[in-house]
């Protein structure tokens, strides 16, 4: 072995590793000794048997590139095509130089005074001191934030049959009955309790609409402490009143 002990994690990618080898062997980047460097590169790759596969794939791709360049360098150059024939290393050299440049920029960024590492701004919170200035936590938004928000919502609750929200077979009125019945036995129920996991999406929706209708009819109260936290339902009227109110259900526009 050549006594090169290298940990691949130290490198951000194959170009980084290659640059390191070229420098440590004191090679001229414009005249890379391709046979030597390929050999070293492959030795290092072999040492990493237990690499993260994704990373390994990229390092292996570079190995293949090196071997390809090496074989092209070894081919006898035919006279006819010599004019068009570029140095097989040219593309690699260009990429290395280009990469080196951004590596330098990255190092420059590293040295710049960074906010919250070297430099700090005031932590004054306007809303803490001035009434009327308080607002929900605001987020700066762009396209990414928009897409991310939608993605998150879908992840939380994938809606397949979104457009046929209310099936005729499910009656909001029926669900209103079910919910109030449950609430008669227990004063306070979470939305989760009235919509068991086995519910289909349509059933969930109808339950939700029924809940909203009940709120509108001032039969129940719903409360939620935080966004996305549990929604609690409680009766606002007595059971006796409830029986008198039920005819109102007929006014519902749902089936």
């Amino acid at each position: 072995m050549m006594g090169i002990q290298i940990r691949l994690e130290k490198f951000t990618g194959p170009l980084d590793l290659l640059l390191h080898l070229i420098k440590s062997q004191e090679m001229d980047i414009y005249d890379i000794r391709i046979v030597e460097i390929t050999e070293q590169y492959l030795t290092i790759i072999e040492q990493m048997q237990q690499l993260d596969l994704d990373i390994a794939g990229e390092f292996l791709l570079m190995a293949a590139t090196l071997i390809h360049i090496k074989s092209r360098m070894l081919l006898p150059i035919s006279d006819e095509i010599i004019e068009e024939e570029e140095d097989p290393r040219a593309e690699l050299v260009k990429r290395l130089l280009e990469y080196q440049r951004y590596k330098d920029v990255a190092e420059f960024f590293q040295q710049l005074p960074q906010l919250e590492r070297d430099i700090f701004v005031g932590q004054f919170q306007l809303s803490d001191f001035i009434e009327g200035a308080s607002e929900e936590n605001e987020v700066a938004i762009g396209l990414y934030q928009l897409a991310a928000a939608f993605h998150q919502l879908l992840k939380d609750k994938p809606p397949e049959t979104f457009h046929e929200v209310v099936r005729e077979s499910l009656s909001v009125a029926d669900y209103i009955d079910r919910i109030t019945e449950k609430l008669l036995n227990k004063n306070r129920l979470s939305f989760r309790e009235i919509s068991p996991a086995k519910f289909s999406r349509s059933e969930l929706i109808v339950t939700f609409i029924a809940t909203l209708e009940l709120v509108k009819m001032h039969i129940i109260n719903i409360e939620q402490v935080n966004d996305f936290s549990e929604i609690w339902l409680s009766l606002t009227i007595s059971p006796e009143q409830l029986s008198r109110i039920s005819p109102q259900k007929d006014l519902l526009t749902y089936g």
Binding site: S127, I130, A133
Partner: protein, 186 residues
């Protein structure tokens, strides 16, 4: 001594909670006896120079605060920030952008909370528009995004919205969690 004054000032400025003399002493590695007069001097300086903020003594510590008289002006700071939204507004806008035409109940289903207030705010800001009534029981209103929405996000049209596929491609771990690939509706 002057450098210590500078350091104390910076500590108080950069801290998110009021700093007590004890804490300032620990942070600056200087005895409290040295720090106390400096803090008092700072308090006087800010008031005397009629700066926009002053060094307040609160909750057993010190903290810079804006002067009380300016409150009516400062309140304006939290308004009219076109590119800043509450989480609720962002979510609602996101659903409508990707799902339009969308009804209020569809939006509320996805968000899991009442969204009437947020939708009204977005309508007031002209970011949403009403597309008509949906052909279903109750004839609910259908909402879509407006021209101002496109302008705000620098989009030529709705097809410029990142598709979820492109979005999840950034994070391979998420791809499997999401079987959907809804292209934005035009």
């Amino acid at each position: 001594m002057d450098n210590l004054r500078q350091l104390i000032e910076a500590f108080i400025f950069a801290s998110d909670i009021p700093l007590s003399l004890d804490r300032l002493s620990v942070l600056s590695e200087q005895p409290k006896a040295l720090i106390k007069p400096i803090v008092e001097q700072l308090q006087l300086q800010y008031v005397a120079a009629e700066r926009g903020f002053y060094l307040a003594e609160v909750a057993g510590g010190y903290q810079f605060r804006t002067v009380v008289e300016l409150a009516p002006w400062l309140r304006k700071l939290s308004k009219d920030r076109a590119s800043r939204f509450s989480r609720a507004a962002l979510e609602t806008l996101a659903i409508i952008a990707y799902r339009q035409p969308a009804t209020r109940s569809e939006i509320e289903y996805l968000r899991g909370v009442d969204s009437g207030g947020v939708m009204k705010t977005l309508l007031d800001k002209n970011l949403l528009r009403i597309l008509g009534k949906k052909d279903m029981p109750g004839r609910p209103l259908m909402y879509g995004t407006s021209r101002q929405f496109l302008e705000l996000f620098g989009l030529r049209d709705l097809t410029d919205l990142p598709t979820l596929k492109e979005f999840t491609a950034l994070d391979p771990a998420l791809t499997e969690a999401d079987p959907l690939d809804p292209e934005p509706v035009e």
